[in-house]
C-alpha cells in the first residue's frame, strides 16, 4: 500500500510541477500567444563528438553548432546557397581560378570582437593544418598540399586584400568549390580567443563555454559532458534578431523510451533535432493514430542506402586496393548484380525496415537522393523494382551451380536500421533466389576501414550528402580510387566526365552529372534500396521546428506558444 501511494503522490506532484513549468502560465507577447517560458529542450542519444568546427564531421555536431558558428555563406531552407557574412557571391576570375570574397563590415563575434578578413584567413589555414575530416574542403586552394603535409603553415593561395575582403586562388577550376565554402570547416573562429586559450591548433577552447566564441545567433552557456548542453541567444547579435527563444537546453538520454516518455509529459519540446530519430514502434504508433499523427513531421533527408557490390576483378585490378576476384565484379558479374537487386521487394523492405515507410522510402530514381540536384526522376531505375521470375532466371544464368554465392556474407556497420535491412534482404534472397546470405555486423571503425580496402564482396553502403552538389557523390564514391567507395569501381569514361563536370559551374555541368548517374544505373553499380527520412516529433505548441533535406531549421525560427 505505502509504496504505490508514495508513487502516486510523487507522480501527481511531479506531474503538477512539470505542467506548470512547461506551460509557463499566461502572459506572452501580444497577438501571438507566446508562452512565457521560451526554453527549447530536446534530447540526444549520444553526446556531441567534436565541438571545434575544424574537426566536426557528424551531423549531430553540425546541426547543433550551426546555431553558434557561421561563415561566408549558408544554405536557406530550400538548400539555396545565400550570403551570410559575405556581402554576396564571390567574384570569380574568367579563368575560374581566383575567388574574391567581400565581408560585411558590421560582423562581430559573440564576445564583441569584430570579424575581419584576417580571421577568415586564420580560420581556413588552421582548418587545413588540423586536417579534420572535412579539411579537404580547402583542397582546391593553392598551397593546401604543403599545409596538409605539415610542410607549410599557411596556404599560399589565400591573400588579404583589405580588412573586409580577401581572395583565394585555386590550382585548377573547381565548379563545386563555391558550394564547399558554405560548409562548417569554413565557419570563422576568433583568432584572439583561441591563441589566448592555448596553442592555435588545439581544440580545448571549443568545449569551454567561456571560450567557444562564434558569430552565430546563439552561444554555449554550459556543458556537462555526456549529460547536458545549454545555449542562450547572443545579445546584440550583429545580424539583428535572434528569434524568440531565451534558452536552448539539450539533454543526453541514451534510452529512446525514456526520451519519449519525457517528451509526452512535456519535458521536451521536440525529438528529432540534430539527426535524432524515434524507435520504429514509437513512430508507427504515432503515425497510425489520427491525433498523434499531427505531432509527427516526416521530412525527406538527403541520404541513400544501397547494396554495395565489389568490383575487384583480381589483385590490383582495377584498383590498387583489390586483393582478389569477386563474383559480382565487372561484366561477368552484371547478371548477378541485377538478379540480387530484382529479387528484393522494396515495398516489403520499406514496410519492415523503414517502420512502414516512416523512416525511409523506396529509391526508384538512382543513387542521388530524391530532392537533390542530379536526381534522375521517379521510377527511372529499372533494377529497383521487384521481379521474382526475372531475378531467378538471371541468377540461374549467372550462377547455376551456386558456387559464386557460397558462404556469401553481407556486412554492415552496427545499427538497428542496418540490421533490420540486412535481415530483410537475407530473408528475401533466401525466399526468392534460394541463396543463403549471412548478415554480419561490424563496429563502425573496422567496417569502414575494411570497406575502404574493398574487402567485402557485398555490403551495406549509404551516403548522406554533405551539400547539394553531385560532385559530393561522385568524387567520394564512384571515381577510380574514390575515398569512400568500398567497391573499387573503376570506369575511365566516368572519371573523365567527372573531371570535366567538376571544373564547370553547376548550371553547365548538371546534365553531365545526370548522365554519369545514368551510367551507374544502367550497369547496376549499386543496388539502390531506400532514401532516408528525417523524423521530427514536435508538440503542437511549438512552431518553426523542422528542417530541410540536409539540416534542421535554425533555432531562431522556433517559437513556443502558450499551452
Amino acid at each position: 500500500m505505502t509504496r504505490i501511494a508514495v508513487f502516486r503522490s510523487l507522480a501527481l506532484a511531479l506531474g503538477a510541477v512539470s505542467m506548470v513549468a512547461a506551460c509557463g502560465g499566461g502572459g506572452g507577447g501580444g497577438g501571438q500567444n507566446l508562452a512565457s517560458d521560451q526554453t527549447l529542450s530536446f534530447p540526444l542519444v549520444d553526446d556531441v563528438g567534436d565541438l571545434d568546427p575544424a574537426h566536426m564531421s557528424a551531423a549531430v555536431d553540425i546541426d547543433i553548432f550551426r546555431n553558434t558558428y557561421s561563415g561566408l555563406y549558408k544554405f536557406d531552407d530550400q538548400l539555396n546557397e545565400v550570403p551570410d557574412i559575405a556581402t554576396g557571391p564571390p567574384t570569380i576570375s574568367p579563368d575560374g581560378l581566383t575567388y574574391t570574397f567581400k565581408l560585411k563590415n558590421n560582423v562581430k563575434f559573440s564576445n564583441g570582437d569584430p570579424v575581419k578578413a584576417d580571421d577568415f584567413i586564420f580560420t581556413w589555414n588552421r582548418a587545413a593544418r588540423i586536417q579534420g575530416d572535412y579539411a579537404s574542403v580547402f583542397q582546391p586552394v593553392a598551397g593546401y598540399d604543403d599545409v596538409s603535409n605539415g610542410k607549410a603553415h599557411d596556404m599560399t593561395g589565400l591573400k588579404k586584400i583589405d580588412d573586409y575582403s580577401f581572395s583565394a586562388t585555386l590550382t585548377a577550376p573547381a565548379g563545386y568549390w563555391y558550394t564547399e565554402t558554405a560548409l562548417w570547416t569554413a565557419w570563422v573562429v576568433d583568432k584572439k580567443v583561441i591563441t589566448a586559450a592555448g596553442k592555435e591548433d588545439d581544440s580545448a577552447w571549443a568545449s569551454d563555454p567561456a571560450t567557444a566564441i562564434g558569430t552565430g545567433q546563439f552561444k554555449m552557456t554550459a556543458r556537462t559532458p555526456k549529460q547536458s548542453i545549454d545555449f542562450a541567444p547572443v545579445p546584440n547579435w550583429w545580424g539583428g534578431s535572434t528569434g524568440i527563444l531565451t534558452k536552448v537546453h539539450i539533454e543526453i538520454v541514451a534510452d529512446q523510451k525514456a526520451q519519449l516518455t519525457k517528451y509526452e509529459s512535456n519535458g521536451y519540446s521536440l525529438i528529432g533535432f540534430a539527426n535524432q530519430n524515434l524507435t520504429p514502434e514509437d513512430v508507427i504508433r504515432y503515425n497510425s493514430d489520427a491525433q498523434l499523427k499531427k505531432q509527427l513531421t516526416l521530412q525527406p533527408a538527403a541520404r541513400t542506402t544501397w547494396i554495395g557490390f565489389n568490383f575487384c576483378e583480381g589483385a590490383g585490378k582495377p584498383s590498387k586496393n583489390c586483393t582478389g576476384a569477386n563474383p559480382f565484379a565487372g561484366d561477368a558479374g552484371k547478371l548477378g548484380r541485377e538478379a540480387f537487386s530484382l529479387a528484393v521487394d522494396r515495398d516489403q523492405l520499406v514496410d519492415i525496415a523503414c517502420s512502414k515507410g516512416t523512416a525511409c522510402v523506396k529509391a526508384t530514381g538512382g543513387v542521388i537522393t530524391k530532392g537533390l540536384k542530379g536526381y534522375l526522376g521517379d521510377n527511372t531505375d529499372p533494377w529497383a523494382v521487384f521481379d521474382k521470375a526475372k531475378a531467378q532466371s538471371l541468377y540461374q544464368q549467372w550462377d547455376p551451380s551456386g558456387s559464386k554465392v557460397k558462404n556469401l556474407v553481407y556486412t554492415y556497420n552496427t545499427s538497428a536500421f542496418n540490421k533490420a535491412v540486412c535481415e530483410n534482404l537475407a530473408s528475401q534472397w533466401k525466399q526468392n533466389l534460394n541463396v543463403s546470405v549471412q548478415c554480419t555486423a561490424q563496429d563502425r571503425a573496422s567496417f569502414f576501414r575494411a570497406r575502404t580496402k574493398c574487402t567485402y564482396p557485398i555490403f551495406r553502403h549509404s551516403w548522406g550528402a554533405d551539400y547539394d552538389h553531385p560532385q559530393d557523390w561522385f568524387d567520394f564514391l564512384f571515381v577510380t580510387d574514390a575515398g569512400s567507395g568500398g567497391a573499387c569501381y573503376s570506369n575511365p569514361q566516368l572519371d573523365q566526365m567527372a573531371t570535366q563536370a567538376n571544373a564547370k559551374p553547376l548550371s553547365q555541368s548538371l546534365d553531365t552529372y545526370k548522365a554519369m548517374n545514368k551510367i551507374l544505373v544502367d550497369n547496376t553499380v549499386t543496388g539502390n534500396l531506400v532514401y532516408g527520412i528525417q523524423q521530427y516529433l514536435v508538440h503542437p505548441y511549438i512552431t518553426g521546428a523542422g528542417g530541410n533535406a540536409l539540416y534542421d531549421n535554425y533555432w531562431s525560427d522556433v517559437k513556443i506558444l502558450q499551452h
Binding site: 514509437d282 504508433r285 514496410d351 519492415i352 530473408s427 548478415c439 554480419t440
Partner: protein
C-alpha cells in the same frame, strides 16, 4: 548458479560422508524422485530438449522468413505466439531458440568441466607448486566481475581480432575461460579431502599409480558435487548468452536466440508486449527448471540436508 558468483559453494567445499559408489546414483535417484519441484524441472528440461531436437528438422515457419503476415501481429490461431517486428513467426523462433539454449548450455557445461575437473584434481592431489599456480589463477578472478571479462573476450576474439566468428562457439569459449575456476575450486576441495581417506591409502598401498588413484578412486567419489556444479553451469551459460545477445554482442542475426528476441521486442514493449514476453518467459521457465533440478540433485547427493 543462475547469477554471478557461486554463493552457496562454501557448503559444498566441506568434506562430508559420501555413500558408497555402487549405490550413489540409485540412492540419489530415489531421493530426487521425492522432490516435486525437481521433477517438474526435469519435465520442463525434457520438453526443452525435445523442442530443440524437433526444431532441427521442422518448425511451423522458417525462423528467418520475414513478412509471413503483418508485422507486430498479436497471437492468433495461425500464429499462436504472434509475429515479431519483421513479420516472423514467434513460435518457430522460440523453438529455434530452444536449440540455441541447449547448445550453449550443454556445450558450456561440458567445456567448463573438461577444463576445471582435471585442473582441480591436479591442484588438490599434488598440492605444492602445482596447487599454488592453479590456485593463483582461481583466486585472481575472485574479485573480478567475470561476466564482464567474458564480454570483453567475446568482443576481442570475434569483432576485434576476428579469430573466431560470432557464434555459439566463441560464447562457450569465453564463458568457459572465465568460469572454469568455480569447477576447479570445488574439485580441488573435494580432492584435498578425499586424498586423506582410507580407501585412497589402501589403494596406494596396493601399488596403484597416481593416475589410477585420481581417476578411478578420487574422481568417482567427487562425482556428486561435480554433477551438481555442472548442472548449475548450464543456466549460468544460458544467462550469459542471453545477456550478451540482449546487449547486441551475442549471436549474429537472425539467429533466434531468446536473448536477442527479447532485445528485438524490448523497444516495442508498450506497443506489442507479446514479442518480448515470449522469449523472456521461456528463458525464465528454463532457468528455473535447471535451478530446481540442480537444487534437487544437490539435496539428493547430500544425505545431511534434510527438509
Amino acid at each position: 548458479m543462475a547469477q554471478a558468483a557461486p554463493v552457496i559453494q562454501p557448503d559444498l567445499e566441506l568434506a562430508y560422508e559420501m555413500p558408497e559408489q555402487a549405490t550413489l546414483l540409485t540412492d540419489a535417484w530415489r531421493r530426487i524422485r521425492r522432490n516435486r519441484l525437481a521433477l517438474v524441472g526435469m519435465v520442463i528440461i525434457g520438453i526443452l530438449f525435445v523442442t530443440a531436437a524437433i526444431s532441427i528438422v521442422w518448425t511451423p515457419y522458417p525462423t528467418w522468413l520475414q513478412a509471413v503476415g503483418p508485422t507486430y501481429q498479436p497471437p492468433s490461431l495461425g500464429h499462436p505466439l504472434g509475429l515479431d517486428q519483421a513479420g516472423r513467426d514467434i513460435l518457430s523462433r522460440i523453438m529455434g531458440g530452444a536449440l540455441i539454449t541447449v547448445e550453449v548450455g550443454v556445450g558450456s557445461a561440458m567445456i567448463v568441466s573438461l577444463i576445471g575437473i582435471p585442473l582441480g584434481l591436479l591442484a588438490g592431489f599434488y598440492r605444492g607448486t602445482v596447487d599454488t599456480i592453479i590456485s593463483f589463477f582461481i583466486n585472481i578472478w575472485y574479485g573480478i566481475p567475470d561476466l564482464l571479462v567474458a564480454l570483453i573476450l567475446v568482443f576481442v576474439l570475434s569483432d576485434a581480432l576476428h579469430l573466431i566468428p560470432r557464434g555459439v562457439f566463441v560464447i562457450i569459449i569465453a564463458f568457459s575461460l572465465t568460469r572454469w575456476m568455480d569447477v576447479a575450486r570445488l574439485v580441488r576441495g573435494q580432492t584435498l579431502a578425499l586424498r586423506e581417506r582410507e580407501f585412497v591409502e589402501a589403494a596406494r598401498m596396493s601399488g596403484a599409480r597416481d593416475f589410477a588413484l585420481l581417476f578411478r578412486h578420487i574422481f568417482p567419489n567427487a562425482l556428486g558435487p561435480i554433477i551438481v556444479q555442472a548442472t548449475f553451469a548450464i543456466p549460468a551459460a544460458v544467462l550469459f548468452e542471453a545477456f550478451l545477445s540482449f546487449l547486441g554482442l551475442g549471436l549474429p542475426s537472425p539467429t533466434p536466440s531468446w536473448g536477442a528476441m527479447a532485445a528485438d521486442g524490448y523497444h516495442g514493449m508498450d506497443f506489442a508486449p507479446h514479442i518480448v514476453l515470449a522469449p523472456t518467459i521461456a528463458l525464465s521457465i528454463t532457468l528455473m527448471a535447471f535451478n530446481w533440478v540442480g537444487d534437487g540433485l544437490r539435496d539428493a547427493f547430500d544425505p545431511r540436508m534434510r527438509r
